[in-house]
């Protein structure tokens, strides 16, 4: 596809997502309309009220119900969207597993915010980490532009015949959701063409091959949400794992196709000055932008620093990460969530697994930061990189887990 002319609009992350979803125009948007809901759904409901979309908008009594409504809509063959944050995602937990196990390609945007208690509305990744093993694809965005782009790409990834899994698009609370940014948007018809219609895969039901949707006419009958015991359940879980592995390829393919259209290429990871790096900062989300500035400053001071931002946290791009960090001496893994009592933060556990059992790998340290929206500065990242370099020289004493920016 040829490059398309785009418009520049000033929008915050929430608005950018709402704008993308307006262009996609899903059949159903079901969402809980008040706190912890974000402006995404508020803006989208404006579009509905103004008659700019034909979407069926369901303002519903809880997030548990919001996702349940999306499950029903997607099972009937519709495109369904919802958005939530923190406690809302926590309340959805039961239905998260049902959506992914029933292989429903729902798209949900999560504005990453801390979990209670104490009550806090600001950014960290605890909410998404709680959903880590729920079978959803999780894509983390760095800025408003990427949030817009990913909210469009997510449909193609979710609905790909080899994937058929729900996608969570994650963006940092306030840092992205409420920050105004100049972003490039595609014309409506280009978005419509890019996402197309939801393709329905075909499956063998109890009366032969049928499209994957509930058919109220009974002409193409399919029963979903059935019962499977120890003789079948395990096989379905193995299928879900295979779909996740297939998603690795699809995320890259969709990113490439979107890049040809927009000039903005996205893949599983985002590499910044890693080619000759001796120290790499690895993490998720908006703070990796700060880390890139820190890497520039470190290079001015003669330290070869780079940044590896994980965009696809689930599926985790193990081989891509291993390849990207080849030759790096030391790695600082940044976790914006805690696994209380665990050996390290959730991202560190994955990163350690990437290099487990290999004869050679980098020194690796884990830094917990930014909980409840605490800021992290370029100076903090520079100190982290220097600490990681020092550990590579002097060795790591005790647990390789440290806290950045917490008062003693």
């Amino acid at each position: 596809m040829a490059r398309v002319e785009q418009r520049r609009i000033g929008m915050m992350g929430d608005e950018a997502v709402a704008y993308a979803i307006k262009q996609v125009e899903p059949d159903v948007v079901a969402a809980y309309p008040i706190t912890p809901q974000t402006i995404i759904v508020e803006r989208f409901s404006d579009y509905v009220a103004d008659g700019l979309v034909r979407t069926e908008f369901v303002a519903i009594e809880s997030e548990h119900s919001a996702l349940s409504a999306c499950v029903g809509a997607a099972a009937a063959g519709a495109r369904a969207f919802t958005a939530t944050a923190s406690q809302g995602l926590a309340l959805m937990w039961e239905i998260l597993y049902i959506a992914s196990s029933m292989r429903l390609p729902i798209v949900m945007v999560i504005v990453n915010r801390a979990l209670s208690a104490p009550i806090n509305i600001h950014c960290d990744h605890s909410d998404a980490m709680g959903a880590r093993d729920s079978g959803w694809i999780q894509l983390f965005c760095e800025n408003c532009q990427e949030a817009y782009d990913t909210a469009i790409q997510a449909w193609r990834i979710a609905e790909h015949p080899d994937v058929q899994l729900p996608v969570m698009v994650c963006l940092d609370g306030f840092v992205v959701s409420h920050t105004l940014e100049d972003i490039e948007v595609l014309p409506d018809e280009v978005v419509k063409e890019f996402v197309g219609e939801r393709p329905l895969v075909r499956v063998m039901g109890h009366e032969g091959e049928v499209p994957y949707r509930l058919d109220p006419t009974g002409r193409e009958p399919l029963s979903m949400g059935t019962f499977a015991m120890y003789d079948l359940y395990f096989e379905y879980k193995r299928q879900q794992e295979e779909a996740m592995r297939a998603a690795l390829k699809v995320i890259e393919e969709v990113g490439r196709e979107y890049g040809e259209l927009t000039g903005r290429y996205y893949g599983l990871i985002d590499q910044y000055k890693l080619e000759d790096a001796e120290v790499a900062i690895v993490g998720l989300g908006s703070s990796m932008g700060t880390a890139k500035d820190a890497a520039d400053e470190l290079r001015d001071e003669g330290i070869r620093a780079g940044v590896l931002r994980i965009r696809s946290f689930r599926p985790f791009p193990t081989e891509t990460v291993r390849e990207a960090l080849k030759g790096v001496k030391t790695v600082a893994v940044m976790d914006r969530a805690l696994s209380f009592g665990g050996p390290a933060g959730p991202l560190m556990m994955d990163m350690a697994t990437v290099f487990y059992g290999l004869k050679e790998g980098p020194t690796m340290l884990n830094y917990i930061y930014g909980l409840g929206g605490r800021d992290i500065s370029t100076d903090d990242f520079k100190a982290v990189a220097q600490d990681a370099l020092r550990a590579a020289e002097e060795g790591v004493e005790g647990l390789p887990v440290k806290f950045v920016g917490v008062r003693e």
Binding site: S101, M102, R103, L104, Q164, V201, V203, M204, G205, H206, E207, Y212, L222, S223, M224, G225, T226, A228, Y230, D231, L232, E235, Y236, R238, Q239, E242, A243
Partner: protein
């Protein structure tokens, strides 16, 4: 597990029903008693047909209650509710 069951590559995705649920003869779960219709007492009112939670009761050609033992779990509701005392639970 049993090799007669499909592997993960063969199974349709998402846990959809891949064979009719009537293939599973739930009557095998019946424990202890089974309903037997005394045709001389049955008037064909079909109360048992309406009340059977497993749709295992029907009316035969003669218009009398008929039990499908493939799906009858032996709960005894039909015998208890029959207004004419035409169904008896018999030990198996």
């Amino acid at each position: 597990m049993s090799s007669s069951l499909p592997g993960w590559k063969e199974l349709p995705m998402g846990g959809v029903a891949f064979r009719p649920s009537t293939d599973i003869k739930t009557g095998e779960w019946r424990l202890g008693f089974r309903p037997v219709v005394k045709e001389e007492k049955c008037v064909g009112c079909a109360m048992c047909v309406v009340l059977c939670p497993d749709m295992a009761m029907g009316l035969g050609e003669e218009g009398k209650a008929q039990v499908n033992y493939d799906y009858c779990k032996g709960c005894g509701i039909c015998a208890r509710e029959c207004p004419y005392g035409a169904i008896e639970m018999v030990p198996e």
